[in-house]
């Protein structure tokens, strides 16, 4: 299943538009004047060494961190520094790096809570069944997620994000800690999601990136080093230098 390379933006306003976004922690600049534009139903991969600022950037997009400077617009509306719940309501969903779930509740309840935010209880219950089936989680639906294996927890979190039906999905290392077969399933799932929703993926696994990516943005030391088609990015000298010494699990 291949997707066409995204056409130039048809609409005047892009889905997400980050301009000059900066985040400083004390004396450290974690994200340094970053510009990033994402169109409707685009799939974008963010790569870069640890500490390059990708997760910090995500946290500003979701409202968990208030940017020190710059603007973030979602569908033309400023969301920089807004409350996380407010941003989520506008249609941004995130799977965080460390699985972040309601540990004492079952997988079904986790997904229900996500679905019920916008839907009636009956509709939400139907969505839960759909999503659990789609992600092959029906068998473990009634188990407490705190007791599930890491890979399963990743999938449950993906399920909660899907149940929210967001227009922009942020995935922070969705393939981390998964088996080879699970990684392939995840890649297929992301491509499938991307048919209707925009997705931004942070990932270290280069094979995974090759499998799904079209346009790749490379972060380094809080700045964007390069942004281009995946083949050209991975062949880029600068990108190779940045990753030198860091293991590219290819």
């Amino acid at each position: 299943m291949t997707n066409p390379i995204p056409a130039p933006a048809k609409k005047l306003t892009p889905l997400l538009e980050a301009r000059d976004v900066t985040m400083k922690f004390g004396g450290v600049t974690a994200v340094d004047h970053v510009d990033l534009v994402l169109n409707e139903v685009e799939l974008r991969c963010l790569i870069g060494p640890n500490g390059a600022g990708k997760s910090t950037f995500f946290k500003m997009l979701t409202g968990q961190l208030r940017p020190s400077g710059g603007s973030i617009r979602f569908r033309g509306n400023e969301i920089g520094g807004a409350h996380p719940h407010d941003i989520a309501r506008r249609g941004v969903g995130i799977k965080t790096q460390v699985p972040n779930l309601f540990d004492g509740l079952s997988a079904r309840e986790n997904v229900f809570i996500a679905a019920a935010r916008r839907k009636s209880v009956a509709r939400a219950t139907a969505i839960v069944v759909e999503v659990l089936e789609r992600l092959h989680l029906t068998d473990i639906a009634d188990r407490e997620v705190g007791r599930l294996a890491h890979g399963q927890r990743q999938w449950v979190e993906l399920a909660t994000v899907l149940a929210q039906e967001p227009e922009l999905i942020l995935l922070d290392e969705p393939a981390a800690g998964m088996t080879k077969a699970e990684v392939e399933q995840t890649a297929q799932l992301i491509l499938e999601i991307n048919r209707t929703q925009a997705v931004v993926v942070v990932e270290h696994d280069m094979q995974f990136i090759r499998r799904i990516a079209k346009v790749v943005t490379v972060f380094n030391q809080g700045k964007i080093l390069v942004e281009d088609h995946v083949d050209r990015v991975l062949a880029d000298e600068r990108v190779r230098n940045v990753y030198l010494g860091n293991s590219i699990s290819a």
Binding site: N100, F102, S106, D142, R147
Partner: protein
């Protein structure tokens, strides 16, 4: 909600059908006890039911919403004083009852707004709720003298308000309830509060409240505003405590600042801790057990009940932090799984060290 998920939900909170069995049990006690027990005996059990309602307010706020309210007695006291002042002024309990519920809710709304919208941490919420309840105690305690009056009622400071009329039939002050009537009213209140909380916990609102207790960040990232849900849960808990305060006055016939005392808040905490966090039956059982113990120690008179309460509190925090009911539930569950294992294939359970911390 499908019957399947409803069943599952009931299952999680104490076994399928447990709601109906608890209700049946309460009704049985409510109507059965007066047949066997003298009026004096009924008086002694009425306080257990009052304390059960108080325990449910703490159990909901702490056990389900995860809010460390260390000052539930503040709302108990506000409810008690609101009822006393209103019933004496109106000469009729019809309006006094809703007032005793609504006033603590309003107070909790203001307090909760500052705490939850001020992003105050859990530990600070504990300290602030405790501090506020102690200050309320000191405030009421300092109202001696005829200048502190509301309508015709002198607040009476340390001595409190004497001779408070009991509940009467709705809209008919000429027909006050007797001791047995107050027993029925109290048990009716308990049944109502228990059912209400059960209903809330099954609703979407209740599920989100529990979800926020489990993981506030995730709830936010899904689009729920944890501040609002915590505030509402806190306000509901205050209303229940207020009702308990109203019934407490009816049981005692007078009111003194003692209802605001720190030991009262501590008792609520102990009821819930002993009975079990995150259950509704637990706090009721805890209240009955502990209040009975307090009364027994109090009657015997050589040892201060506080000594026993303190030891129980420390012991449960150290040894059984989940209380009695989950302990029993776990034992039953273990027995069931053992049986299942003998029948079917065992499911491997992955122990995951990642538990959400108490942040």
């Amino acid at each position: 909600m499908t019957s399947h998920s409803l069943g599952r939900f009931l299952d999680q909170y104490g076994g399928a059908g447990s709601f109906l069995s608890v209700c049946l049990l309460l009704i049985l006690v409510m109507f059965g006890l007066p047949l066997f027990v003298s009026t004096f005996g009924l008086l002694q059990v009425t306080i257990l039911a009052v304390m059960s309602i108080f325990a449910l307010s703490q159990g909901f706020v702490w056990g389900f919403a995860g809010i460390m309210s260390f000052g539930q007695a503040g709302f108990l006291g506000l409810g008690a004083y609101a009822y006393a002042v209103a019933v004496i002024n109106y000469g009729d309990s019809t309006l006094a009852v809703p007032i005793s519920i609504i006033l603590p809710m309003l107070f909790a709304a203001v307090m909760g707004y500052f705490m939850f919208y001020g992003r105050i941490s859990d530990a600070y919420v504990g300290v602030i709720t405790l501090t506020v309840s102690v200050i309320l105690f000191q405030l009421i305690n300092s109202t001696s003298g005829s200048q502190y009056r509301i309508g015709v009622v002198e607040l009476g400071g340390f001595n409190g308000i004497p001779a408070i009329p009991p509940l009467n039939l709705i809209g008919d002050p000429s027909r006050p309830l007797d001791q047995t009537g107050i027993w029925y009213a109290t048990m009716g209140g308990l049944l109502l509060v228990y059912s209400l909380l059960r209903f809330i916990l099954m609703s979407r609102f209740g599920r989100v409240v529990v979800a926020i207790r489990e993981n506030e960040t995730r709830a936010q990232l899904i689009g729920y505003d944890p501040r609002l849900f915590k505030l509402l849960a806190f306000v509901i808990g205050a209303g229940i405590a207020g009702l308990a305060g109203c019934l407490y006055v009816n049981w005692a016939g007078y009111i003194s600042p003692g209802v605001f005392a720190l030991t009262m808040s501590a008792q609520a905490i102990i009821f819930v801790l002993v009975g079990g966090l995150g259950t509704l039956l637990g706090p009721i059982l805890g209240a009955v057990l502990i209040q009975w113990l307090i009364n027994t120690i109090g009657d015997q008179g050589t040892v201060d009940p506080g000594l026993g309460l303190g030891i129980i509190l420390v012991a449960f925090v150290l040894l059984f932090p989940k209380g009695i009911v989950p302990l029993v539930q776990a034992a039953i569950q273990q027995a069931l799984t053992l049986r299942k294992r003998n029948v079917g294939s065992p499911l491997p359970v992955d122990a995951d060290p990642l538990q959400s911390g108490a942040e």
